[in-house]
């Protein structure tokens, strides 16, 4: 009797890399090329691609440099998921392949394609410029170079994780809203903006925030968490996005934008009824005119189907709302105290 092959003891196997190919100067449409090579356990996708380029087809184009997950150059979609080729092991992705023995390699999404696996990063760089993703120092010019500009450890911890970003654009590639509109700020730029905005040495917090709350900015994020899930450095990107929103509401007020008004409605409704008052949410977010123009046909259909949310007076409060409100307001006092001591 033959013993079953123990896959865990296997040290080498034939793997097919199905690589996206497209050279806009020559090809009328994209296609895939299959390259089958023998791969040892522990080999990364990048080393495999290097082998293919050196020994099989020199025309396969991709970007790579450090081979150690530091430079962020080799972001690509491996079996559909945006990640770094240099930190992704072949055997790890092979077990998740839809077609046994085949690993599909495609360029990142949401950025223009240059050739094969190479995308144009310029739109991302342009957005980083647009949203001033740098520190404009508050230190007088005369003092620069004379002394260090230190921050507290507590402050650094607020953006420590955000500084881990290597601009690999995996989050950009996975973003739902960017897929729907290429003008959207994008998660990497929001992360960088947050990192700059919470730095006390920065002098352009207000103008940067003013830009972030405009159309295609921070309020357009739809909370899908794809960016955070894809981040190769496990950075909680949504915390940064929510951090900008919290800052926007605090610095610019709850009536600043439709995004802020929409978010604040949850706070006031919970305090009032313990429930969201959905019927008036569109009006409170965007005003009567927008609501009539945009939602009237749907509202008619909803009325026919008995699907309209109840008008505010008919929204039943949560049971025991009076006690709940007391608790809620007590927490409001705590928050006020926090703000006071924070300002001190």
């Amino acid at each position: 009797m033959t013993a079953p092959i123990d896959q865990h003891n296997e040290t080498k196997k034939d793997v097919t890399f199905r690589v996206f190919r497209f050279n806009p100067q020559v090809d009328s449409k994209p296609y895939f090329d299959d390259y089958t090579i023998s791969v040892e356990r522990g080999i990364t996708v990048l080393r495999s691609l290097n082998y293919i380029k050196e020994h099989i087809d020199a025309s396969v184009s991709f970007r790579a440099f450090c081979q150690a997950g530091i430079c962020g150059s080799c972001g690509m979609r491996i079996n559909g998921l945006s990640q770094l080729a240099c930190t992704t092991q072949v055997w790890d992705v092979l077990v998740k392949s839809k077609e046994p023995g085949i690993i599909k390699i495609e360029p990142l999404r949401n950025l223009p394609l240059i050739k094969d696996l190479i995308v144009d990063m310029d739109p991302l760089v342009d957005k980083m410029k647009h949203y001033s993703n740098w520190i404009d120092s508050t230190m007088p010019e005369a003092s620069m170079g004379q002394k260090e500009f230190l921050i507290s450890e507590e402050e650094f911890l607020r953006y420590d994780k955000a500084t881990d970003c290597i601009l690999c654009a995996s989050c950009v590639s996975e973003c739902s809203i960017l897929r729907a509109n290429k003008e959207y700020v994008s998660p990497a730029v929001l992360l960088k903006s947050y990192r700059m905005n919470v730095d006390s040495r920065d002098a352009i917090h207000e103008p940067r925030l003013a830009e972030l709350v405009k159309d295609h900015g921070v309020w357009d994020c739809t909370h899908c968490y794809r960016c955070q899930e894809a981040c190769v450095k496990s950075i909680p990107i949504m915390d940064a996005i929510h951090g900008i929103r919290e800052d926007a509401i605090e610095s610019r007020g709850v009536k600043d934008t439709s995004g802020a008004k929409h978010a604040e409605a949850f706070m006031s409704d919970i305090e009032k009824k313990g429930k969201l008052i959905e019927a008036t949410l569109p009006i409170r977010t965007n005003g009567v005119v927008w609501t009539l123009q945009n939602l009237l046909p749907m509202a008619v259909k909803m009325i026919i189907k008995h699907r309209t949310p109840p008008p505010p007076p008919l929204v039943k409060s949560a049971k025991g709302i009076k006690v709940f409100r007391e608790l809620f307001r007590e927490m409001t006092e705590h928050v006020k105290q926090d703000h006071k001591s924070h300002k001190k």
Binding site: Y184, D269, H334
Partner: protein, 282 residues
């Protein structure tokens, strides 16, 4: 009978009433008893957490504490409520000083957040607690004539550090439920993608584009309907479907079902009983 505290989601109390109504029809048949948490309040809908992180912690500590008082797990049938309440739980469990601050307030209502009750989705209860074998045995009308596109939605999958039930890249629990009910799942790339709901009032066109993509893939794959465990995804894909597809230049339509309705159909209830006729897309 397995008992659970059942969280009342705002949207299921207003626009998608068919979710709770259909669950009520079949819960006993599957050996489940959901005790409605009438004292529970809105979870903050993935917004309160940044408007006021401390109120967010208080509100959801209280929601969970109400279930803990009954010694029951808290079951949720909206993805965003699930993610939001679980996020608060994670924060409370990891931050003792926040937990203490919140509990000092909660004790005025005779409540305490201890962290003993789990917060789980209805889909997980069906797959893990009732079990696929039991569900298979209970099916009266197998859904074998239907090709079904499983749309999981975001907040039952991501962030995986908070959810952790399915692999967010290739989730399976909803596919398993469909198969146990006798239906046929179709390969569906949008199964783990977004419906665009959370920006419908803020970035409408982007949201509609997101929804349209998910709808078009299911239509092209000739699915009979899309099923989702989330009433917010349902609202985006059903309520806004006509608008989304019109903009995308698509003239056909596709019905969107809640998981509770799909279970009800397989257990022999009619579309009328289950509230399917309340959907915008027939």
């Amino acid at each position: 009978m397995k008992r659970y505290a059942y969280y009342l989601s705002c949207i299921n109390e207003s626009m998608t009433k068919e979710v709770d109504r259909s669950i009520e029809l079949w819960q006993k048949e599957l050996g489940l008893e959901f005790v409605k948490l009438h004292e529970g309040t809105c979870c903050g809908g993935s917004n309160l957490d940044y408007v006021s992180p401390k109120h967010f912690a208080l509100v959801n500590a209280r929601n969970i504490a109400l279930a803990e008082k009954m010694g029951l797990d808290l079951i949720v049938s909206c993805n965003t409520c699930l993610m939001t309440i679980r996020s608060a739980k994670k924060k409370l469990d990891e931050t003792p000083e926040l937990k203490k601050e919140v509990n000092d307030i909660l004790k005025k209502e005779g409540l305490e957040y201890r962290g003993t009750s789990q917060v789980r989705h209805l889909l997980w209860v069906l797959v893990d607690d009732v079990g696929l074998d039991t569900i298979r045995k209970k099916v009266k009308v197998p859904l074998k004539k239907y090709r079904i596109a499983p749309f999981y939605g975001c907040h039952i999958l991501r962030p995986s550090t908070v959810l952790g039930h399915d692999n967010p890249v290739d989730p399976t629990s909803l596919d398993q439920l469909i198969e146990a009910l006798g239906g046929q799942t179709i390969p569906y790339k949008h199964k783990n993608r977004c419906c665009g709901f959370h920006t419908l009032l803020v970035a409408e066109q982007e949201s509609l584009n997101v929804a349209a993509e998910a709808l078009q893939e299911a239509i092209q794959a000739k699915a009979d309907f899309i099923v989702t465990p989330c009433p917010l995804c349902h609202t985006s894909l059903d309520g806004y479907q006509a608008k989304a597809l019109k903009h995308a230049g698509v003239e056909t339509s596709i019905p969107i079902f809640h998981i509770s309705e799909m279970v009800g159909l397989a257990l022999g209830y009619t579309e009328k009983q289950l509230g399917i006729k309340r959907h915008i897309v027939g």
